[in-house]
Symmetry: C2
Subunit: 204 residues, 2 copies
């Protein structure tokens, strides 16, 4: 009668350091969640290991899995597919274990649609926290440059609105601590535990 695990999604704008933070999380040995290895059609690079860094598949194999509804999310990026196979995620959640995904924002949107009760964490660049200073700059920038920065900032804030938490990546170990705190706390949310009690009462 184990409860289903939590699906934890870490995402954020390109270049924010999602991969670095995720690696730092899994270098710790006190995690009570499993990392879901992504699948990709890009070529394996020197040092990369099948099933550790990625599952490396051909374009045909990947497209067949999309067709069969076997991907939780996927995105195309620079001519290659990247995505999360559904089977491992479901199996692990069913075992009552939490699953951690580190994915692009397009993929996170797909997961949000399918698993709305996941925990969605948006990693923000430290300069989003100093938004005003960044946008106005030194007062010597052209209106066009300032407008472009405003556009990017608006886009990042719009993306953030879809998430449950926003964590600033100012220092990797701090970002890791915040994410681990969030995952622990989410387990105490009433809407996640109350079902267990109600079910128990009904079984008596």
């Amino acid at each position: 009668m184990s409860e289903r695990g939590l699906l934890i999604v870490l995402s954020g704008p390109s270049g924010v350091g999602k991969g670095t933070v995720r690696k730092a999380i899994f270098e710790r040995d006190d995690n009570e969640f499993q990392y879901s290895v992504s699948m990709t059609t890009r070529k394996k690079r020197a040092g990369e290991v099948e099933g550790v860094d990625y599952y490396f598949r051909s374009k045909e194999e990947f497209e067949a899995m999309i067709e069969a509804g076997e991907m939780l999310e996927y995105a195309e990026y620079v001519g290659n597919y990247y995505g999360t196979p559904l089977t491992y995620v479901n199996k692990t959640l069913d075992e009552g274990k939490d699953v951690f995904l580190e994915i692009e924002v397009q993929g996170a949107q797909q997961v949000k649609d399918k698993v709305p009760d996941g925990v969605f964490i948006f990693l923000t660049p430290p300069d989003l926290a100093e938004l005003k200073a960044r946008i106005v700059g030194r007062g010597t920038d052209s209106p066009e440059v300032i407008d472009e920065r405003m556009r990017v900032a608006r886009q990042e804030i719009e993306m953030m609105a879809l998430y449950d938490y926003a964590v600033v990546n100012d220092q990797v170990p701090k970002a890791v601590d915040r994410i681990k705190d969030i995952i622990v706390s989410e387990h105490y949310r009433v809407d996640r535990v109350i079902g267990k009690y109600i079910k128990m009462l009904k079984e008596i």
Copy 2:
């Protein structure tokens, strides 16, 4: 331009150990939140200090404050009033500091109505986590005894449903850690931080 602080409410069924957990929290020196001292009409006991344990007031003074709308919440218990004066809470929140209340469930309900974006933490007895074993007992209890336990359990679960988090008070230091984790994590919730970013963009 400081943000308003969080209102944190710890409550739970009578006898669960709310006061003990609250005292253990405030014995630590790394808290980034302020304790709001309650007001009461009961007599001061030996060793109790005005403004530390309670604000001790007469029944007339307390009722005048209720009339004037100066109580965030209050309850009557064994012929005495207990409650939270509004002024300190508002002033501290306006300074951008978090305020911690430890109150009875009736009071928590009143705060929930007035401050729905507070953080509501329900402390549960350890045996609620072992509900089934507790209710069924050793199989030697009368149906009446089992029914009464079912009634109490249902009542506790109904109360819990109004809260954001449920924390089991199995061991005081563990309960303290969980509560402190929750308070930290709540600061990263998107709905609490996104307003700051939107406001900044508008000001540019």
